[in-house]
């Protein structure tokens, strides 16, 4: 994990700036934290090489930050971040990489240099939130727009996180299961 993220999480934990503080104190830990991929229970995914996904969720100053990483034996091979202010409309940035991390087996590239918008809101405070991205991808026939709706839902006791990803182009959702990665001491 990159050190700024660690510092941010440490800050959150120590000074109660976290998503779950003040809202649902009896509901156990919230969505924040680092989430490790659990293959069993997830849709079959295809990433580059031996990489596996990891999600890190943090919050500060009214913004939620969702870091998606592809890890290859512990090293970050690819990283992508969605940052939004819940319920406050779209934030637009520019896609920087041609890598489309969703599926290595398909002839799809991310539209590098094209705008990508991100918005998000709580579905259930501290337990579930939705992130919607609109971006351009490039295929053999040219550029086309894809809207992806990602629902992050905390499991019982806050031990698991389910990500349900629905792409406007895909007939079925991709469901990924994660378990909370306990901090190493």
């Amino acid at each position: 994990m990159k050190s700024p993220v660690c510092m941010l999480l440490l800050f959150i934990v120590l000074f109660s700036g976290s998503l779950n503080s003040g809202h649902a104190q009896d509901a156990g830990p919230g969505c924040e934290g680092t989430w490790r991929f659990v293959q069993a229970g997830s849709t079959d995914i295809v990433t580059w090489g031996n990489t596996l996904p990891q999600v890190d969720i943090s919050a500060a100053e009214g913004k939620v930050r969702v870091l998606h990483e592809l890890l290859d034996r512990g090293s970050v091979a690819f990283a992508d971040t969605f940052e939004f202010s819940p319920g406050r409309g779209e934030v637009t940035s520019v896609a920087r990489s041609e890598i489309w991390p969703e599926n290595w087996f398909m002839g799809v590239l991310s539209g590098a240099g094209d705008p990508r918008s991100v918005s998000g809101h709580w579905l259930e405070p501290e337990k579930s939130f939705r992130v919607v991205t609109r971006q351009t991808v490039r295929t053999s026939q040219g550029k086309t727009a894809v809207t992806t709706t990602r629902d992050y839902t905390l499991g019982p006791g806050g031990k698991t996180l389910t990500l349900s990803e629905k792409r406007s182009s895909r007939p079925s959702p991709v469901v990924l299961l994660f378990e909370r990665k306990e901090p190493s001491h």
């Binding site: 580059w48 690819f78 290595w104 799809v108 053999s140 086309t144």
Partner: protein, 546 residues
């Protein structure tokens, strides 16, 4: 790759001159008239298990097959290449060959030790000593043994010619190979280099060793990863000292480098990679000629004068890559749907009857295409620009021999430095292929999906849009194809599908059957003909290598 070996003008000139004379003949004309033997090899290929016995037998095969083919092995069912038994049956039926079954190493030596001039002892505690022993075995026409097998060899009148016990203890592979180079390289064949890579540690599967011993080749698994500075320099030196256009046969070590590094370095020297390290029985197969009067005939589907007008559909063409004989050819379902097979073109002269077997067994739905990037596995972006025309010409000559009119390119020279997304070719390279392959229907490109698309005078250059891995969940694979069709909304949409060789056709069919009536699987040559005349993809080329 950051550090490209320098190419001297003299070497370049030698290569150009060599290309003018193209492929040297290797095999003799006959299949031999003497007694032939067949034997099963075991499942265990561990140094601490069955490898010593199998290595001894494979080295015996390499030596015993000098002069004429005498010994053939039936490799175990889980071996990479699955055609040993069918090919044996084919030899029996088409060539009238008869084989005497051998059951034990003792029986094998009883029957064949008269062709052997000694034995080389390798050191179980130093894996690389076996790789060096293979080199020494070729030079001495010897078998390779561990010390436990010495009494067996002595009982058959064989005498020790080399003993590596303790010789390499504590040495690095770089040091061992330098030692072997100093001792053996001057006597070794400079037309072939054997890469005895693949597995590592306690495991080795030296299926190609018989061929290397038979042809007195140097064996190595030196790393082609530039970070392994000593081994990389050693590999580059070997490559540079091979005769121009030589064959690097076998495979890189999975533990030391990656395929892309290996093929990139070989391509820098205009060398042709010919996999794999497990390719079986080649000292036997290369001596079996074609049937008298046989000519390679592909199953063409495009009829001259007929128009192929696409409908508003998604057209899919399936190609199995990664060498004929790996995976699906012998598995259920072949012939049920149109399927294209990458032909290992050098088998036409390395193992002619073996390639004839595939042509003879082909169903009307089996269509062959030429591969891969050149007359052998090469990366065009890594081949010196001055050599590329000759490389393409030689590949084209092989295609003519094999009645192939579709060619396939794969280039991973920039792959690992691009996060695994650069399989693409610059226009100048694509121009060269089309200019020098005038009668082809089209060219396909990639391994994973790639992004180079173009049309040259009605002939398409199409990259794979999908890679079907052997473990991909079938429902998800079907969803992938539907998603691709949604992301490519124009119709017709040409979806070129690369099927990983371990996926059998029954499974492919199940996946394709999940798609609706808007999808149609067509033969590759029909697919390309329609795509060239009615393209819906956008022209795009890759960048020149950095």
């Amino acid at each position: 790759m950051n550090s490209s070996p320098r190419f001297g003008a003299r070497h370049l000139m030698k290569l150009l001159i060599f290309f003018l004379f193209a492929v040297p003949p290797l095999s003799d004309a006959g299949g031999g008239t003497g007694e032939k033997f067949v034997m099963r090899l075991g499942e265990n290929w561990e140094i601490s298990g069955g490898l010593p016995e199998s290595a001894m037998l494979i080295s015996l095969q390499g030596v015993a097959n000098i002069g004429e083919p005498r010994l053939y092995f039936r490799y175990p069912p889980k071996w990479d290449y699955t055609f040993c038994d069918p090919l044996l049956a084919y030899y029996r039926s088409s060539r009238g060959m008869q084989f005497r079954e051998l059951a034990t190493p003792g029986e094998a030596l009883d029957s064949l030790s008269r062709y052997v001039k000694g034995y080389v002892v390798w050191d179980r505690s130093v894996r690389t000593s076996l790789i060096v022993a293979f080199t020494a075995a070729g030079i001495h026409q010897a078998v390779v043994l561990t010390e436990e097998q010495i009494p067996l060899a002595e009982r058959h009148g064989l005498r020790m010619v080399e003993d590596f016990r303790g010789t390499f203890k504590g040495w690095s592979d770089a040091r061992i190979y330098e030692w072997a180079y100093a001792k053996y390289w001057p006597q070794c064949n400079k037309n072939f280099l054997v890469y005895m890579g693949g597995e590592s540690g306690n495991l080795m599967k030296p299926g190609i060793a018989d061929f290397g011993i038979h042809h007195v080749c140097f064996f190595t698994d030196a790393s082609t990863n530039p970070r392994d500075t000593l081994e990389y320099a050693f590999a580059a030196r070997l490559f540079g000292e091979l005769k121009p256009f030589s064959i690097v046969i076998g495979w890189h070590s999975y533990a030391k480098d990656v395929e892309a590094q290996h093929v990139t370095l070989a391509s820098h020297f205009g060398l042709r990679v010919e996999g794999l390290h497990t390719l079986p029985n080649m000292s036997f197969n290369h001596q079996i000629p074609l049937s008298p009067g046989f000519r390679f005939r592909n199953t063409h589907n495009v009829r001259e004068g007929k128009s192929y007008i696409p409908e508003k559909k998604v057209y899919i063409a399936c190609i199995q890559t990664d060498c004929l004989g790996l995976g699906a050819w012998t598995k259920p379902g072949r012939g049920e749907i149109p399927y294209a097979w990458e032909v290992t073109m050098n088998w036409s002269w390395l193992a002619p009857a073996m390639l004839q077997y595939f042509y003879d067994m082909a169903t009307p739905n089996d269509y062959f295409l030429g591969a891969l990037s050149g007359p052998g596995y090469m990366y065009p972006k890594a081949i010196p620009a001055a050599l590329l025309p000759s490389v393409v010409d030689t590949a084209y000559a092989l295609m003519k021999t094999l009645d192939l009119n579709v060619f396939e390119i794969m280039d991973h020279a920039s792959y690992w430095s691009s996060g695994g997304i650069d399989d693409d070719l610059p226009k100048s390279i694509v121009d060269t292929y089309f200019a020098r392959m005038p009668d082809i229907l089209g060219i396909v490109n990639g391994y994973r999906p790639a992004h180079t698309f173009a049309v040259y005078g009605g002939k398409p250059f199409i990259s794979y849009d999908y890679y079907l891995g052997e473990k991909r969940d079938e429902a998800e694979a079907a969803a992938d194809l539907v998603e691709l069709s949604n992301l490519n909304p124009a119709r017709p949409y040409y979806l070129l599908l690369h099927v990983r060789e371990w996926t059998d056709i029954k499974r492919v069919r199940r996946i394709l059957d999940r798609l609706g009536s808007g999808f149609e699987v067509v033969p590759l040559d029909v697919f390309l003909t329609m795509a060239g005349k009615n393209p819906t993809f956008q022209t795009r080329f890759g960048a020149l290598p950095r």
